[in-house]
Subunit: 335 residues, 2 copies
């Protein structure tokens, strides 16, 4: 049994820099036709020059003619001239509230002061990607941020807003209310709840932001994705952290899932008897919502048992050691 | 400025065994007149012989004439003869639902089948100490268990039931409803919420069971304790884990707080302008509820700056590195 995916896309990906970039870029480029690359580097990607330089580094590292890195700018106040110059080099601009996650120190500290830039983005049709969390209690952050989303969605009805990595039933409900709003869902938020993170032992490998929520939230995410929601698309939020940094003096957030995403999604969609919706979740919805024409690339998933490696180099993948029924055909798994 | 505590008691303590016991027992014995010692060893303390042997080991390790280890039996089905033989050697029997925390594998798996033993305990006036969590979603476990508490409290109205280490506003409300119910509150649950555990970085040193909850739960615990609640007493639940075991492949639950408890409580009660209630929280309520007469022991806390050590041997204490205004007078801090 096989399923052929046409130009799968990862609409939310962290590739980092330097040797880490070199290690992870090929793992995505081998099985995706494109990925939306996050700009929250140590020095944020916040001008055209940085975008171009980072894109070149990614292309050199991924070394694939059938993979496009869709670049993003780090949100700040941009002038019309800056946006006009950058427009054709980016897929959108990513907004981080200040301090809310890894590499967000230079993010937005006053959400009441962003409308000038949002107005330009709406006019130029540059999508707005958002890490939507308040600085409140950890489990309430996404829900509390919905008022910000609502305000932006209503003030800029022609701005395409993407709620990144949604994790709650409340967020799923919110997406339905505004036609200019899309959302991405990660692999891990389709599989784990807070119980997996801290319900038994504490599992630093499952620590991520936003944190995984309640069983009913997991169910709401699955229900939306597995019913073919027309504005919810796949974005892994795959984020590599080397093992030696995940030590017990405060562990950083981030789950590395890029190389296991497609086989694990195939399992999930198969169990729901909806393999027919995998193509739209992993490519078509994104193409339609963003207006993309990714490189032609065929990725074949076959029903052939595979065990997720414990490590990819220094990186522990999501699902390490898990026995999967699906694998990527012809894929040599680098370990 | 000084405050003199008469015979302070820690009504919930883990001392473990062997070299760990030898390391931690003196730290409690130096500043408490007694402590209720938990029976969840690798081989549970579930008969009189084990109680006596463990008590001897604790006494040898603590090496203090002014410290009493109040022993507990691990709950299982006990006969009348067993309970009569053990009664004078124990302060109560500790019930763990199976699998709910460290060393609870042999705990109770069928809570519908414990009434015979509870009936004997009520008749003999042997208190029941409970780790009150269901096996549900991690944040709901304590609340879900309240129906079990309610059932026991109503079925055995003369049985003294102690809700150990309560963490929620719901549990505080529950204590008020049944005169035969008491509760203990830990040091750490008076200081942290889930935000401290997973809201920024993930902090394995703050991982405990029950997990710390919401800000409103912290407020409810503080309000109860700092208003002199007549049935809520101090029990640290201090639980030593050596640093090398707290690695990022699943971290065990437990916070080591014994040596810092009294100074940190003094700070908390002082900030609430209720130093007058510290004596009752740390001793008098427990003496009254359990009918104890602990050894005469005077512990003087003085307002003298102190920095919590980063390590006690191999153990990282709660509040490591924190600058405190209060310290224990005459205490040589073993590091």
């Amino acid at each position: 049994m096989k399923i052929t995916l046409k130009s799968p896309l990862d609409m939310h990906l962290h590739l980092r820099e330097g040797t880490m970039l070199q290690a992870v870029a090929p793992l995505t480029a081998s099985c995706f036709a494109g990925a939306v690359v996050m700009p929250n580097l140590i020095s944020p990607v916040d001008n055209l020059e940085k975008v171009q330089k980072y894109k070149e580094e990614i292309e050199a590292s991924s070394n694939s003619a059938s993979f496009i890195p869709y670049m993003t700018l780090f949100f700040k106040k941009y002038s019309r001239a800056e946006l006009e110059a950058a427009k054709n080099e980016i897929i959108g601009i990513k907004l981080y509230p200040a301090g809310i996650t890894t590499g967000s120190e230079n993010g937005v500290s006053d959400l009441g002061n962003i409308n000038d830039t949002l107005c330009l983005m709406e006019e130029m049709q540059i999508p707005l990607l958002v890490h939507g969390e308040s600085n409140g209690f950890v489990l309430d952050r996404e829900k509390e941020f919905l008022t910000v989303y609502q305000n932006i969605a209503e003030t800029f009805p022609k701005l395409h807003i993407i709620m990144e990595h949604i994790t709650t039933a409340d967020a799923v409900e919110f997406v339905d209310r505004y036609p200019n709003v899309s959302a991405t869902v990660t692999l891990h938020h389709l599989f784990i709840t807070l119980d997996d993170v801290i319900g038994g032992l504490m599992e630093p490998d499952l620590f991520c932001k936003p944190i995984a929520k309640r069983p009913r939230d997991l169910q709401a995410l699955r229900a939306a994705v597995l019913s073919g929601h027309k504005r919810i698309m796949f974005g892994s939020d795959s984020a590599p952290h080397p093992r030696h940094k995940q030590e017990c003096c405060g562990c950083a957030a981030g789950i590395f899932s890029a190389p296991v995403a497609l086989p694990m999604l195939a399992e999930l969609f198969e169990e729901a008897d909806h393999l027919d919706l995998l193509q739209s979740f992993t490519s078509d919805i994104a193409c339609k919502r963003y207006g993309l024409q990714p490189p032609d690339k065929t990725v074949v998933l076959e029903k052939k048992a595979w065990t997720v490696p414990n490590l990819y180099g220094d990186l522990k993948p999501f699902g390490a050691g898990r026995h999967l029924r699906w694998s990527i055909k012809g894929e040599e798994i680098a370990q």
